[in-house]
Symmetry: C2
Subunit: 300 residues, 2 copies
């Protein structure tokens, strides 16, 4: 805490365009004063270690709002036991430089004790959507996501919040929560940002060594195959799913968690022929790194 | 719906002091414009069929704010199976007259489909506090309360919300939720309002017939006994609890759900001598009516 706080103080001196806020109360005061002045607040929640995917979200939020807030908070409750909370990559100074360059107005970077006060026992939980796909492999993950996003919405009081399509199930869960709890926040979604060779951008890509990085492309290849099948007229979900699975397993290095062809709002498997929007979602592990990717058939 | 809507329209014509809002979006717009004008919003969530206890909450909210909002919504999710949702008493016109008389500015009265959209699967849940006392007898009750209060806070966007000490455990649960989820809403609590003979006011008292009404006083008598013991120096929680229990059971008509001496914030039983604030809470059934009451030792 002390270290990152002092680095911020230094950093603040180098700019007067972007404001760093650590306390929820200060964030709420700031949000209230912007709202009172009639400004539209656009919000991008992140766990930091930003890449172009995040910056796209910032650009999207900025186009649609007067004041853009980006939160940087590595949320412990969305990591399961044995997951990568401790080694999750962090570089606050670099994040701030990137955010300033895209015209972010406020960085909200609370500490863990600010977001989860002592004796915290409250959860926001979306049922149904959250026990399949990612939720089946990471049973407490979405409960952590919805809880922290609710807290962040209360701190930042945005009119609009932007999320990345890379986490397609998260988008569906957040949309549902936002609608059900009547937040009055519009959810905007930005497309997946990919590296030149097609790998979906992710802060976790930094875990990959050179060989793993190459093998990881199997995910993108499998989704391209699905798109090609679909363009060629294939409409059987189970057939597409099987081909996607085989494509990933062709890389001997990948261990498959799941492949699925689902309805993008309900995350329920397609039964019968595909006759509407269909999300192909994949998750696999390579070495100690877990990667996810997806595509909406007919959309890429 | 149609009937109560039309009665409202009529009613609105009789006053220009109070505004009735049915839609969440309109409520949010109204709240935003009051906030933008610098007004403090005070909020009293109710299930209607108001009594002096509710009106005390309105008076409290009014003293502390510029705009006072009262919601009237019989929340289905806080009733368990076999509980009294269907017969819960309602009288919207009377409620509106009472609210206008105490200077309420806005009545927020959404329909069930407005608060719980089709396919709603999101819950706000406080753990720990909610599985004892009321929560042990009404296992889904507090989940319904916290979920609806979260939605209402999002609709009304209050600075301050007032709750009654009659539902002492609800106060503890709402305080916890509001703090944990970082709502930035201050929770104010008004003391229990009692009838002249001591019966705690409750919309459910209307269920009692004449004999039951008389027998129901056993609850208040038992709490008075607890206070007398405490004033006389008694500090053993289990002794006080036993005397309270015996006092209630002396009325052969009452069926006891629980009696307890607990810490008012955690709702955990006092162990060892009482050396701080101690809540004596009781719940009992008489005929088909369930009643609760409580007192903080040394405070009445």
């Amino acid at each position: 805490m002390t270290r990152s706080l002092s680095c911020c103080v230094t950093w603040v001196e180098t700019t007067d365009r972007m404001h760093i806020i650590r306390s929820i109360e200060e964030m709420q005061r700031e949000a209230n004063s912007h709202r009172a002045a009639g400004a539209v607040i656009g919000f991008v929640p992140t766990m930091g270690f930003l890449h172009e995917g995040h910056l796209d979200l910032l650009r999207l939020a900025r186009r649609r709002s007067d004041v853009t807030v980006c939160s940087i908070f590595v949320n412990p409750t969305q990591f399961g036991e044995g997951e990568d909370l401790a080694r999750y990559p962090r570089d606050f100074d670099r994040d701030c430089r990137l955010l300033e360059a895209v015209g972010c107005d406020i960085v909200f970077a609370p500490g863990v004790e600010e977001m989860y006060p002592e004796g915290d026992t409250t959860w926001v939980q979306v049922e149904g959507l959250t026990n399949v796909l990612e939720g089946a492999f990471r049973p407490t993950h979405f409960r952590g996501v919805t809880t922290v996003v609710a807290k962040l919405f209360h701190a930042v009081r945005p009119h609009l919040a932007a999320f990345g399509q890379k986490d397609a199930q998260q988008v569906a869960v957040i949309r549902r929560m936002t609608r059900d709890l009547r937040f009055g926040v519009e959810i905007a979604v930005a497309p997946i940002r990919r590296e030149k060779d097609g790998l979906a951008m992710s802060s976790r890509n930094t875990y990959l060594d050179k060989d793993e990085r190459k093998e990881a492309l199997a995910l993108y290849r499998s989704l391209q195959t699905a798109q090609r099948l679909f363009s060629g007229g294939e409409r059987r979900p189970e057939f597409i799913q099987r081909v996607v699975e085989e494509e990933i397993l062709r890389s001997g290095a990948m261990k498959l968690d799941y492949t699925a062809v689902v309805h993008p709002d309900s995350m329920q498997p397609y039964e019968g022929a595909i006759d509407g929007p269909a999300l192909v979602a994949v998750a696999a592990r390579i070495g100690s790194t877990r990667l996810i990717d997806n595509t909406v058939l007919g959309e890429e």
